[in-house]
């Protein structure tokens, strides 16, 4: 059967196998080669695609919860949404959350995901106290935050073994609502100034209009926010929208994306002085309310290109890249700019101190050549590409961009010399 991840690209003849227990895992590690841990299939590219994809979704149990201190231990197949349903009414929240809650905790660790608070609170691994890892030889080891194995596993794309469970530290909240402020910016310079000005907010993110005309390159809407203090934690279920079918390939083109961006920019209002109270679902997970939103890019799928540039060079690099996109006329429906804090010690985690931009591109004939061209610019400015979104990066660029790679390869060679665990991505990148 054809398997694929969230970007619907690439499509590969792999097999998804549900894992129910440790014994299942040992069995599959012993019988198959070319296996890869698989969570909820929400990474975008080919990092969780292989011949045998060992799905953790059936291992989705809570193991213990310390309500007083906000410490949760659960199996790796638990979705962040399942955690939130349980902890929010009890006054807790995820310390770190990415822009979707429909990922497993194992996936969150393997990708060392981050969110709108990276500049203040870092990556997901910051909230992980310890985890259990099954090595490819079947041994189960306890890995504590800071261990060498921890540094390799967080952000390690599932290549060091199978995460069985994890213990995470939660964050105290007094409301399920966020006080959100909106700042509109006319160009890239203004956007950067606003980011710096509002950097003391815990959460911040910007939507960039990639198709703005030349003098308005970097036109954006920045949203910043803090949890409210109204003691409203009661759970309310909301209805979801659905994209019930694949959009025809022509639906998203330069004009429709321009129209969307134009409307979005002009409908939303500046609100620097008075916050709007929005539910955490709307603030953190706007796209989760639309089932299958990935289908709007049509049957060929899409790739998300996310890169990060060191802070002192961010402005120059972004100017150059936005200009390239402007000339190419390749419409990105979603373009998200974000400020990042200090780099952590993990070997393959994506974030470095600086700015990152994430763009969606529909798969078409010349998109890969175009992205190779952007890679060169990213590399020139000392930046890197996010593996969790990637489906096409080449080995040379990857090796140059990830400076701690050698430490990772050393561990990888120790635990899995025959590369029993591998993905299409790891084969392509020589991991």
């Amino acid at each position: 059967m054809k398997t694929f991840s969230w970007g619907l690209y690439p499509k590969y003849n792999g097999k998804i196998i549900n894992i129910y227990s440790k014994n299942d895992l040992i069995k599959y590690f012993n019988t198959y080669s070319n296996v890869i841990p698989y969570g909820n299939g929400r990474s975008y590219g080919d990092s969780a695609i292989s011949d045998y994809m060992l799905a953790s979704k059936k291992m989705n149990y809570f193991i213990s919860f310390d309500e007083k201190n906000g410490i949760l231990k659960c199996q790796s197949g638990v979705l962040l949404s399942e955690i939130l349903d349980f902890i929010v009414p009890r006054g807790w929240f995820l310390s770190i959350t990415p822009g979707t809650k429909l990922i497993t905790i194992g996936g969150a660790i393997a990708s060392d995901v981050h969110g709108k608070n990276h500049h203040k609170e870092g990556c997901f691994s910051n909230s992980v106290i310890e985890l259990s890892l099954m090595l490819p030889n079947g041994d189960v080891i306890k890995v504590k935050n800071g261990d060498e194995m921890f540094l390799a596993t967080c952000g390690g794309m599932g290549l060091t073994g199978y995460i069985l469970d994890a213990t995470i530290k939660l964050k105290k909240i007094n409301s399920q609502f966020i006080n959100q402020y909106v700042i509109k910016n006319k160009n890239l310079l203004q956007t950067f100034e606003s980011f710096e000005k509002y950097a003391n907010f815990t959460y911040s993110v910007a939507w960039i209009d990639c198709l703005a005309d030349k003098k308005n390159l970097g036109k954006s809407i920045i949203m910043v926010g803090e949890f409210a203090n109204d003691f409203d934690l009661e759970y309310k279920e909301k209805k979801k929208l659905n994209v019930p079918f694949l959009f025809p390939d022509f639906a998203l083109n330069t004009y429709s994306v321009k129209l969307f961006n134009y409307m979005y920019y002009n409908v939303i209002e500046n609100s620097i002085d008075r916050p709007i109270k929005v539910h955490y679902d709307k603030f953190f997970y706007p796209l989760d309310s639309i089932n299958n939103w990935n289908r709007i890019y049509g049957k060929n799928g899409f790739t998300q290109y996310q890169f990060i540039i060191p802070k002192d060079k961010s402005f120059d690099a972004l100017s150059e890249i936005l200009y390239e996109i402007h000339i190419s006329g390749k419409g990105s429906f979603l373009s998200v700019l974000k400020l990042y804090g200090k780099e952590n010690n993990n070997y393959l985690s994506f974030p470095i101190e600086g700015y990152s931009l994430a763009l969606d591109f529909k798969i078409d004939n010349d998109i890969f050549d175009f992205l190779d061209k952007l890679d060169k610019i990213v590399l020139k400015y000392g930046g890197r590409i996010y593996l969790t979104k990637d489906a096409r990066l080449n080995k040379e660029t990857f090796y140059k961009a990830y400076q701690k790679l050698d430490y990772f390869l050393k561990i990888r060679n120790q635990v899995d010399p025959n590369k029993k665990i591998n993905s299409l991505q790891s084969r392509r990148l020589g991991l």
Binding site: N18, Y20, Y61, F62, I63, S64, Q75, F86
Partner: protein, 245 residues
Amino acid sequence: MNKSVLILGAKSDIAKELGKIFAKDGYDLYLAARNVNELDEYITDLKIKNNIQIQKIEFDITKIETHTEIWENIKEKIFGVILAAGYLPNQKEAEKNWNITLNTINVNYTGAVSFLNLVANSFEERKSGFIIGISSVAGDRGRKDNYIYGSTKAALTAYLSGLRARLFNSNVHVMTVKPGPVYTKMTEGLVLNPNITAIPEKVAKDIYGAYLNKKDVIYTPAFWYIIMFITKHIPEFIFKKMTIR
């Protein structure tokens, strides 16, 4: 004290999802299955998330001689019973090996009837309770590819139908559930058509909704009602030549 529900075959994927929903709604659970200790992680999870009691019962539906004692021990506390135990053999193997066929009959029909007879007598006397029996669309018409399984489910469907009529005046709700193929441990390894195969979460949600609405018979997902309506009305002389997957 909470109401209690007994789940027979509690390790099945549909049963586990049903257990989650009933637990969330405040029911205490009696979970009956073979090697019931394999449910320990599941039980810990339910107890963290819900303020309920959970009892484990070591139970083999084919060991009919144990049924009376098991039921006598707990019947006072049980408000409703869900029959989720089931066995899906490989059709070709079952055709050649009588023991596999016999086991299919024993799990899906003989054992089920043995236990539900006991439950029915108690509930009839008490004039309260509910019984949810998980049958299958496979019981609506015997197909070449799975008629041994299908015939046991056909028998179960007929049994539940009669039971419903008998207990109607005693205020006991009997519901027949006919799921289509579901991605579960039971069907793992089979080649299933993704367009018509459901996930256990969806099936459990349908069952719970139908239980609240006191439905008699449900197909889940609901489109199976239409598929089976058509399937049942194809003339036999055509049906016998068809290959339906």
